[in-house]
C-alpha cells in the first residue's frame, strides 16, 4: 500500500512548514522547515519526544494552533494550499476531508454536551442529512467503533464513558463524514496497553474499510512499528530522518534515531545498561544555525556546531538531516557515557526473603450521598487489593506490572505504610511492620525507601537540593552535622549530578534530573530496599534509559532490593529478576522474568504480552489481544476476576476464584485451566 513518492501525486504535500508560537519570551519556532509527503492510503508516523514539534506540525495542517501563532510554508492538499486558504474554505475541509483525533479524550470531548450531539454536529456541518438521519448515522458510527448498546449511549455524557470508550467516541466523531485523512495525535497515550491495542487495531481496521490515510503522532516507537508504513522522526522542530518504517528501524542513519531506538529495552538485553542519549531534549528556543542535536551527539564535529544540516537522501526512500549519515554504518555507536557495569547475576543467590506479603486487603469506601445514608444504602467499596501474596528476596528486583486500577500502586504504598492495609500481613526481615510505632517505625522507614513517579511533584519546590538531602540526613542522624556537606556532594555524585546542583531549587532541573534527586534523597538514609512506583513513566524515552541505567547501576553497587512497579512491560522485563502480574487487586501470575516472557501461562499475562507493541517484529495483525474492559473495582466479578474477558473461561471460572498456585520452577499462577503439576504444593492462601 505504501506508495513510492514521485510515481503518483501525493495526497498531502507539506513543504517548508514553519509554525511560530507565541511564548512569554517572544515568538518561537515550534516547527521549522518541515517537509513531507503522504501518499493515498498511507499511514505516516510522526515520532519525537516532548517539545519536538510533532503535535504542532499536526495541528498546523488544519491551522488549529492558538491565534497568535503563525503558520507559513505550503501544505498542498489535493491541489489546494491549506496555508493560504481562507478560513471559510478551510472549514469545509476540516472534519469533512481531514479529521482529527486528540490525545486526551476526557478533555477533547465537551463535558457538558452529549456524545450524540458531538457526533451529529459534525454531520450537520458537512452533510444534508435530516435530524432523524443524523441520529441514525450517529448510532451507526458508535456501532462501527465498537461501543456496545450504541443507541442507549447516544444521550450519555463523556464522563459516563470509560477512557477507552471515550477514545472510541472521539474516533466516531472524526470519521463521521468519511474523511480522506485522519490526523491522530497520540490517540493511545492515555490508555492502558490492552485498550491501546484495541484502539490501534480499530484505527487500522477503519483505515482499511474507509480507505483513509492516517498521520499518527506518537512518542512510542513500538506503536510506529506496529501501525505505520512510513516514519518521520522529529527533533527540535525539524524532521531529522524519514523513510519507510522497515528501512529506518533496521538501519537508522541519524544518530538521534539510532539513540532513540537503542533506548527502548529489547528482548535479550535484560538487566544490561540501556543505550541512552546523554542530556535532555532542548527547550523551544530561537534556533541558531547549527545542528540542534550536536550537543548530545557522539559524532558531532565543528561543522555540525556551525551549520544546520538539511534533509537529504541517504538511500532510496530514506532521508536524514545529518552531516555524517555514514558515521553510524562505519563506526560503532558510542555507548552511554557511564561505564557499563558488569552484568548482574541473573538472580541473586540465596534469596532470603526481605519482604513477605500475604493476603493483603485494602478497600476504599466511596462517599455516600446524604439520601443514601438516610435510606441505609450499603457502603460501596473500591476493592483495590484482594489478597495478593508474594516474597521479595534480598538483592532481588521484583517487577510488578498491571494496568491502571489493578492495585499495584496501592500495594506499593501499603508496603511503606503510606496507606494502611485493612487485612493481611507484611513482614519485613521477619518483623510484622503493620503494627510498628514510634522509633521502630522510623527505623523501618529508614530501611525501606520509595521513589516516586511525578518529577514535578516529588520534590518540595521551596527547598534547595541541599536542604532536601540535608533534611533526610539530619532527621535520621546519618552523619554528624560537619560531615553533611560532604555527604551531600557524595550523594549527588552517586546519582551523577554535579556538586553545584546542591544550591539550586528543583525548578532549575529537567524531569530526569529531578528523578535522580529523588533517588538521592531516598539513598540519603542508606536503605536496603527501594520501592519505585512508575519511576520513569513521566520521562521521555531517551531520558528514561538514563534513569533506568542509574537504578541498575546503584543496585549492583549498593546491593539494594528493588520493587519496581510499572505499567511498561518492556521496562519491567528489562529491570526485574522476577515479575508479578496484577489484575483487579490480585497477583495472577508470578515467575522469573525469562520464564514469564518466554511462556506466559495465565490468559491475562498472555493477553498483556501480546498487546505490547513490539519494535522488532512488526506484526501488522488486526487480531485484538483481549476484548472488553477492566470490570469496575466497585463490584469485582465473582470467581476468577479475569473470566469476563477470558476467551477460554469455563464454568468453574465463573464460580470459583482460582488460587495462586506453584506450578513448577519458581512459577505461580492462578488459573483453573491448567491443573497444578505433580509435586507442586499449593501456596497458602488466607
Amino acid at each position: 500500500m505504501s506508495a513510492v513518492p514521485g510515481m503518483t501525486p501525493p495526497l498531502l504535500s507539506v513543504r517548508d512548514l514553519v509554525t511560530e508560537v507565541a511564548t512569554a519570551r517572544g515568538p518561537m519556532r515550534a516547527v521549522d522547515q518541515v517537509s513531507f509527503d503522504l501518499a493515498d492510503g498511507e499511514i505516516l508516523g510522526l515520532v519525537g519526544e516532548s517539545g519536538s514539534g510533532k503535535t504542532v506540525t499536526l495541528r498546523s495542517i488544519l491551522r488549529l494552533v492558538a491565534p497568535p501563532a503563525r503558520v507559513a510554508g505550503t501544505i498542498l492538499w489535493r491541489g489546494r494550499n491549506l496555508v493560504a486558504l481562507p478560513e471559510r474554505e478551510l472549514r469545509a475541509i476540516r472534519g469533512r476531508e481531514i479529521a482529527a483525533v486528540f490525545q486526551e479524550p476526557m478533555t477533547a470531548l465537551n463535558p457538558v454536551l452529549t456524545i450524540g450531539l458531538q457526533i451529529e454536529e459534525n454531520l450537520q456541518a458537512h452533510t444534508m442529512l435530516t435530524a432523524r438521519e443524523r441520529r441514525r448515522r450517529a448510532i451507526e458510527l458508535l456501532d462501527i467503533v465498537g461501543i456496545p448498546a450504541a443507541a442507549s449511549r447516544l444521550d450519555g455524557y463523556p464522563h459516563q464513558f470509560s477512557g477507552g470508550m471515550r477514545q472510541r467516541a472521539m474516533i466516531a466523531i472524526a470519521i463521521a463524514s468519511n474523511p480522506r485523512l485522519l490526523l491522530a495525535d497520540e490517540p493511545t497515550t492515555a490508555l492502558d496497553v490492552t485498550i491501546q491495542d484495541q484502539i490501534l487495531k480499530l484505527i487500522l481496521t477503519l483505515r482499511q474499510q474507509l480507505g483513509m490515510s492516517v498521520i499518527f503522532v506518537t512518542h512510542d516507537l513500538g506503536v510506529v512499528a506496529e501501525t505505520c508504513d512510513r516514519v518521520a522522526v522529529m527533533y527540535a522542530g525539524r524532521i531529522i530522518e524519514t523513510g519507510s518504517v522497515a528501512t529506518v528501524f533496521a538501519g537508522p542513519r541519524h544518530p538521534y534515531t539510532a539513540g532513540l531506538l537503542a533506548s527502548v529495552p529489547r528482548t535479550g538485553g535484560e538487566r544490561r545498561p540501556l543505550q541512552s542519549i546523554p542530556g535532555t531534549p532542548p527547550p523551544l528556543s530561537q534556533r541558531s544555525g547549527d545542528c540542534a542535536f550536536a550537543p548530545r551527539c557522539a559524532f558531532a564535529t565543528d561543522h555540525c556546531r556551525q551549520r544546520q544540516p538539511t534533509l537529504s537522501a541517504v538511500a532510496p526512500d530514506h532521508a536524514a538531516a545529518c552531516w555524517h549519515p555514514e558515521a553510524l554504518t562505519t563506526a560503532p555507536p558510542r555507548t552511554a557515557a557511564i561505564a557499563p557495569p558488569p552484568r548482574a547475576p541473573s538472580r541473586p543467590t540465596a534469596t532470603t526473603p526481605l519482604f513477605e506479603v500475604a493476603g493483603l486487603v485494602k478497600g476504599f469506601p466511596v462517599r455516600r450521598s446524604a439520601l443514601a445514608r438516610l435510606l441505609g444504602k450499603p457502603q460501596r467499596v473500591v476493592h483495590a487489593l484482594n489478597g495478593p501474596h508474594f516474597v521479595l528476596g534480598r538483592g532481588e528486583t521484583l517487577g510488578i506490572v498491571g494496568e491502571s486500577g489493578c492495585g499495584k500502586s496501592t500495594l506499593a504504598q501499603c508496603l511503606v505504610r503510606l496507606i494502611e492495609a485493612d487485612a493481611g500481613t507484611i513482614r519485613y526481615d521477619g518483623i510484622d511492620i503493620r503494627t510498628l510505632r514510634g522509633a521502630a517505625r522510623r527505623g523501618f522507614n529508614r530501611r525501606v525507601q520509595m521513589i516516586f513517579q511525578d518529577p514535578y511533584g516529588s520534590l518540595n519546590p521551596r527547598m534547595t537540593v541541599r536542604q532536601i538531602l540535608g533534611e533526610a540526613l539530619h532527621v535520621h542522624h546519618m552523619r554528624p552535622a560537619a560531615a553533611i556537606p560532604d555527604r551531600i556532594t557524595a550523594l549527588l555524585d552517586l546519582v551523577r549530578l554535579p556538586a553545584d546542583a546542591a544550591d539550586r531549587y528543583p525548578h532549575a532541573f529537567s524531569g530526569g534530573q529531578r528523578q535522580r534527586i529523588g533517588i538521592a534523597r531516598a539513598l540519603a538514609v542508606e536503605p536496603e530496599c527501594l520501592i519505585a512506583d512508575e519511576l520513569v513513566s513521566a520521562l521521555d524515552v531517551s531520558v528514561q534509559a538514563q534513569v533506568v541505567n542509574l537504578l541498575l547501576d546503584l543496585q549492583n553497587q549498593l546491593g539494594l532490593s528493588v520493587l519496581f512497579v510499572a505499567h511498561d512491560l518492556r521496562l519491567v522485563r528489562h529491570i526485574s529478576h522476577r515479575v508479578a502480574v496484577m489484575y483487579l487487586g490480585e497477583i495472577v501470575e508470578i515467575a522469573p522474568t525469562e520464564a514469564l516472557f518466554a511462556a506466559p501461562r495465565h490468559p491475562y499475562t498472555q493477553a498483556l504480552l501480546s498487546a505490547v507493541p513490539d519494535i522488532d517484529h512488526s506484526r501488522r495483525t488486526l487480531r485484538i489481544a483481549v476484548r472488553g474492559e477492566l470490570p469496575s473495582p466497585l463490584a469485582p466479578p465473582p470467581g476468577c476476576p479475569f473470566h469476563p474477558r477470558c476467551a477460554q473461561a469455563i464454568d468453574r471460572c465463573r464460580r470459583e476464584r482460582p488460587a495462586l498456585t506453584a506450578r513448577g520452577g519458581d512459577r505461580l499462577f492462578a488459573c483453573h485451566l491448567a491443573p497444578p503439576q505433580d509435586g507442586a504444593a499449593a501456596a497458602p492462601r488466607p
Binding site: 527547550p283 522510623r442 518540595n460 521551596r462
Partner: protein, 282 residues
Amino acid sequence: MTAVPTSGAAADPRRRRPAIGLIAGLVILGLSLLTAFLPGLVAPHDPLSFDYKAILHGPSLVHPFGTDNFGRDMLSRVIWAYRIDMQIAVFTTLFPILFGTMVGALVGFYDGIAAQIFGRIVDAVITFPFIVLVIAIVAVLGPGLGNMYIAVGMVGWVFYARLIAAEMRVQMRLDYAAAGRVLGYGDVRIIVRHLLPNAIGPVLVYWMTDMALSILLGSALGYLGLGARPPAAEWGVLIADGKNFMTTAWWMTIFPGVAIVLTGLGFSLLGDAVAELLRPRR
C-alpha cells in the same frame, strides 16, 4: 552524562513579569503607609480646627480638596484618615490570617471529625452575609472600631482556614509530602517545613484582597455610624458627613471616596503581582 542544570529562566519560558503592576501597587501602598504613619508631616492643616471664615469652600490652592461645613480642610482630613483606615486594613485581618492559617493547616492535614465540624462551621458562616453578621455582632457589642475587629475576628478566620485547608489537601496529594512520610518525618516537620510554605500562597493573595475589603467594610460601618466615631477622620465617616452636602459641596464626598478606591487599587494590584510571583514554577 554529567548534565548541567539549565538556568531557572531558560527552564521556565512561561514566566511573566508582573513588574508594572507590582511597582504601581507598591508605590500606592508605600505612600499610603507613609501617610498613615506621618500624617502630620503631609497634611497642610490641622484636620480638626474649625475655620468659620472658610465654610464649604470649593477646591482652591489653599484648600486643594476644599473645606467642610465647619471650615475644616478636607485634604488634611483625608490624609489623617489614612491613619485610621490603614489601621483598619491591618488590624481587621491580623487575627483572621494567623488563627485561620493555623486552624486550616491542622484541619487540612488531619482529616477527621474536626474537619467535619469545621466543614459545618464553614457552611454556616458562608450563608450569613458577612456584613450582616458583622453588623449584628457590632450591634450586640456596641459601635466602635475595637468591636469591629472583634466581630470580624470571630468569623473572618473561617475564610482563611477554608482556603488553606483546601490548599493543604492539594499539596498533600503531591509526592513530596508522601516522600516526607516515607522518610519518617514527624507531622510537625511535614506541616511547617513542607506543606505550609507551599500552601500559603493563595492565603497571601487573599490577604491583599481582604485588606481592601476590610477598608470597604470599615468605611461602611463608619458611614452607618457603627465604626469609627466622629469627629475622628475616617473615610466612611467623612462620606457620611458630606452626603447631605452632595449637591452643594461635592468635594466633601468625592475625595474620601477617591482615597478608598486608590487604596483598594493598590492592594489589588499588589495581590495580582503576588499571585503571579507565587505561581508554581515548573
